[in-house]
């Protein structure tokens, strides 16, 4: 870089933004790097907030992506508790909530997503929570414990992980889901049935195909969830986990092309060559499936952080990855890879009743996605098979006496 480099400005100090900043330095970017985040703390890992952290098995230090001293050590300027009010793509500046203006050569948008709120009566009562930030997790944790009752609205991963953690902490938990089954948007029926049974056996109750009409409260604090059929589910705390829309408003106002998130190419670059978008906020290509999609996962945030940092430092585009994610509930390690967009059939390998199995989603004889419970070999081999698009034998895949190495050979 020349002496006159204005540098890289990163909006968002989450997993994506923090990783992009660190990678730029790792890739020997020498210009100024400025990262702006609206939370009061430096980048940290969000996945443990509903898992190990909620159960008290991880502390704030272990959540931090890097030690506090790191950012100053490698000359990454961080503005925390600060918002970006406006992006001016012509002047190449961003305006901050403290009145400051910062110029950039490259801008990385990493604003993430926010927890969707429910526009229903009582949603503003104390004790109606969401789970996105460390502060949210702190509120939830302090509300849980023996004798407490948690009502989870939304049977997705966040809700199920929170319910599992609540049970471990001695609280009661009930999951209320609008669809006829939990995980309806993100997993197949076999997995829905498995997780329902596993949670029920550990004391979690379920209300499926249930509409939530509002929250009841007393003295400003939630006391129950009112359902469409007139019943009220009593609770001490309610967690709303019904999805997370992208924080793409700044990009829209700046005239950047947005769909469900900021549209980028396989270098995480928007149609403005100086502007990138990474992580939960990006509407990105998925070359394996020949379509665009918005992914909400650490793997996606890191892959796109690598893409953007590589582009800015003139490195080749990193190889495409097969998307994957994981969830920890009780003693279950659930790992999944790929997307079953075009799948026409499933093959179950192993025994759900033994809590060790995998569901492969196939299109013809090609694996499109895999969902694995306590089955790391199936997950790892599945991920490779998805990327290779190589046909396999369904009979051998379903046969536990044939190892995954042999299936994939």
């Amino acid at each position: 870089m020349g002496d006159k480099a204005l540098g890289v400005v990163i909006i968002g100090a989450g997993h994506a933004g923090g990783t992009a900043a660190a990678l730029l330095r790792q890739y020997n970017y020498e210009g100024p790097i400025t990262m702006i985040g609206d939370e009061p703390i430096a980048p940290y890992q969000r996945p443990p907030l509903s898992k190990a952290w909620l159960k008290g098995e991880a502390d704030a230090d272990s959540l931090a992506l890097k030690p506090q001293s790191f950012y100053a050590d490698v000359a990454i300027d961080m503005f925390l508790s600060t918002r970006v009010m406006k992006i001016d793509r012509v002047a190449k500046t961003v305006s901050l909530s403290d009145g400051r203006q910062i110029a950039y050569d490259f801008l990385i948008l990493a604003m993430g997503a926010r927890a969707r709120t429910l526009p229903i009566p009582g949603a503003d009562l104390a004790g109606v929570l969401c789970l996105r930030s460390a502060a949210d997790a702190e509120s939830l944790k302090s509300a849980l414990g023996p004798g407490k009752r948690l009502a989870v609205i939304g049977g997705g991963y966040i809700g199920l992980e929170a319910a599992a953690s609540a049970r471990v902490l001695g609280a009661d938990a009930i999951v209320i889901e609008r669809e006829p089954r939990i995980l309806a948007r993100v997993a197949c029926q076999v997995l829905s049935d498995f997780f329902t049974d596993y949670h029920r056996a550990r004391g979690v109750e379920f209300e499926v195909a249930a509409m939530v009409e509002g929250f009841k409260g007393k003295d400003g604090h939630v006391t129950g969830v009112r359902l469409g059929d007139g019943r009220t589910i009593a609770c001490d705390v309610a967690l709303v986990g019904v999805g997370a829309p992208p924080n793409d408003e700044l990009a829209r106002e700046a005239g950047l092309h947005c769909e469900n998130g900021v549209v980028v190419d396989d270098h995480a670059r928007t149609h403005d060559p100086a502007v990138f978008a990474i992580g939960d906020v990006a509407w990105r290509p998925m070359p394996r499936y020949e379509r665009m999609f918005r992914l909400e996962s650490v793997a996606n945030a890191l892959e796109q952080a690598r893409q953007a940092a590589s582009a800015i430092t003139g490195r080749p585009v990193p190889p495409h990855e097969v998307t994957w994610n994981w969830s920890d509930q009780y003693d279950l390690k659930y790992q999944f890879a790929g997307m079953p967009f075009d799948a026409d059939d499933i093959v179950v390998r192993g025994d759900p009743a033994a809590a060790k199995f995998a569901v492969f989603h196939l299109k013809g004889d090609v694996v499109e996605a895999v969902e694995a419970v306590n089955a790391p070999a199936e997950f790892m081999a599945g991920r490779q098979l998805i990327g290779q698009r190589r046909p396999i034998s369904r009979v051998r895949l379903a046969d536990m006496t044939v190892s995954m190495k042999e299936v994939a050979a």
Binding site: Q26, L65, A299, W324, W326, K333, P376
Partner: protein
Amino acid sequence: MAKITYIEHGGAEHVIDVKSGLSVMEGAVKNNIPGIDADCGGACACATCHVYVDDAWREKTGKPSAMEESMLDFAENVEPSSRLSCQIKVTDDLDGLIVRMPESQH
């Protein structure tokens, strides 16, 4: 506390003091050492913190769990000395540990 030497695939060496209780992976990631990605943050879910433990240290670092072994089975360029560095807890006994990194974690 243990002094750990991380050797990149290209040969660059990083000698780092890592606090006991952290994992060998955390020692690298928190110090921004290239070559260990640790995408899942230490949940043993991704196999992107693969290292080769120096032969002299293989006994002291112990054996991988069944879970770790299954993950490693499908990592790239696996050798008998391969471990997932998120699963090696640092203790004073590991002072002097040497780990090498594979060409790629992805």
